[in-house]
Amino acid sequence: MYIYDEYDQKIVDERVAQFRDQTARFLAGKMTDEQFLPLRLQNGLYIQRLAPMLRIAVPYGLLNSTQLRKLAHITRDYDKGYAHISTRQNIQLNWPLLEEVPDILAELASVQMHAIQTSGNCIRNTTTDQFAGVAADELEDPRPWCEIIRQWSTLHPEFAFLPRKFKIAVCGTSEDRAAIHTHDIGVELVANAQGEVGFRVLAGGGLGRTPVIGSVICDWLEKRHLLTYLEAILRVYNQHGRRDNKYKARIKILVRAMGVDAFREAVEAEWTPIKDGPTTLTGEEIERAKSFFTAPDYAAIDGAASSEALTAQAESDPIFGNWVKRNTRPHRVPGYRAVTVSLKATGYAPGDITDRQLELVADLADQYAFGEARTTHEQNLVLADVREDELYPLWRALQGAGLATANIGYLTDMICCPGGDFCSLANAKSIPVAEAIQQRFEDLDYVYDLGPIDLNISGCMNACGHHHIGHIGVLGVDKKGEEFYQVCLGGSQAKDAAIAKILGPSFKQEDMPEVIAKILTTYLDLRQEEETFLGTYQRVGLDPFKERVYAKAD
């Protein structure tokens, strides 16, 4: 992973000093709430329902074991002993004290971490595929490009006061695991007709109040032009994005209002004078970025023998075998697999992890996964490089800590925002809904029979729980002071990205497990052979589900 040099370290250290001064001035009454607001937000600090919330940046989801241990220490000493993985692959603390935030930032800086631009109307953490670098279907590793974008966007002087937040995702695979179609900018590594790898650039995607699938604005961009091209897009957005209405301020509204062709022309016009300028990437810089993401020291393993041994082990211990089947996936190196550590056990808020669990994952990463772990936008952790012959002891250790629920990609592996229990923006609670659904569908055999299902829950329009791109999406709404839940179906975050359609009138919280049950029964009745939930929905449409869910009891 990327290692800071003296320059990177200096930037985060100076940022801590700057924020320490700003916090002191605010606490001394020398700055108003309104003035302090954007400054603290750009350091990841919200003032929430119960306490401040601090969002720590995990650039494109990569963490090493030292950082995991530091996070465990911070959650224990400055918070209540647990942290939360967000859908931007970041880590959130729910109970820090404002006065202590500069100290927390200093602790983070000591392990090459920060909270820069994890909130506010600026360029946020760049996200990517959690299996980057190990996926068999990858054209090229997206992480060096994420790091190049991270450095370019960090404390960018021109783009810190944009009309609204701005999110970039990068992917390098044919199957999109980074949801690039629903980002302000999506960057995909693609080959042109000559076989040269460059970028396809999408703009104007997004979730929130007005979900939109991004439009391709550049079919193929030469690699060295990445930053100048991004700069041109941001400059068009910064100057022309709406600032009169925060619900119409995202770039998706601008792209729609201008039309894709006019937007593309505006970007080209801004790009022409800076193209080939000093921000053009050099070959040395690209190589430098790539040098941090080389393959670890894999053992030479006989893949066939290893996989045979694993099969035998799985047969002799079916619970282990089931976990291997559900929570691990193929690796491009023979004899290795990528493991997802499930943070979706019933009874715990999706994406929450305790200080002890963080420390355990750190130890396991050191022991079995070259000292690295990854956060995922589905709110789990990944150990990306595990030997097949070490899966068994790893599984035992995870199981002992409640981290081996074999549900990755299934119904109970839900995406869920913190919701009304924590977030001051929320209209409704989301965690209790997730928990009630998990309890209702505890029978894993039933869950496996349903096949892969993305169930995504957001507590409000801001859509942090990505409800628009769940196969089943749930949105908390406020109706005259009461919490209700709207259900939508047929969304997808993958290559076939789609925005889910609203099923009909919303439901009470206590009815939600039954509503989900009716939707699932409808699917099971209608599915043909191996058809997935999404496949059935795409074939039969919304109506059969609607009829079943809203049928009057006779």
Partner: protein
């Protein structure tokens, strides 16, 4: 005479912010007034853009950019674009920008700052040096860090 920070020092000068209705001789012309009678100084508001100025960059000595609210960041792009197109005169920030924004403003090409309060000019001056290293190229250092890294 109003105080301001220019090129890293506290100073004074005769220019007053624009007045759209009854401009006196010391008011910086608004973009509309400047269009009528192209002078050496102009004040941009958010939304004005820099396109009109581009053909006249050589004849301008002062471009003032107003920040009615500090959260409206359009002026950052205006300054950056003016510098990238070769403008060498003064770019002055006016209005409600925060001292904590000055390091960014300066890197975008502002070299003068006229804040609404004169009281904290010295602290504001110190804020210009919050960071000693920057990843991006800027008006004062066109080369991004990756071209300068040892």
């Amino acid at each position: 005479m109003p105080k301001l920070i220019r090129d890293g020092a506290i100073t004074e000068d005769h220019w007053l912010p624009a007045d759209g209705d009854q401009p006196g001789p010391n008011n910086i012309p608004t973009l509309a007034q400047w269009r009528e009678d192209a002078a050496g100084a102009v004040q941009l508001e958010p939304g004005d853009g820099v396109t009109d100025l581009l053909p006249a960059l050589d004849s301008l000595q002062l471009v003032a950019i107003n920040f009615p609210v500090f959260t409206d960041g359009r002026g950052f792009s205006y300054a950056r674009e003016l510098r990238q197109r070769g403008y060498r005169g003064e770019i002055r920030a006016l209005g409600n920008f925060l001292r904590d924004q000055m390091t960014y403003l300066s890197r975008c090409g502002f070299n003068a700052f006229q804040s609404q309060s004169d009281s904290e000019l010295q602290e504001a001056l110190d804020s210009l040096d919050d960071f000693s290293v920057h990843y991006q190229g800027s008006a004062n250092q066109p080369e991004p860090l990756f071209r300068r890294r040892a």
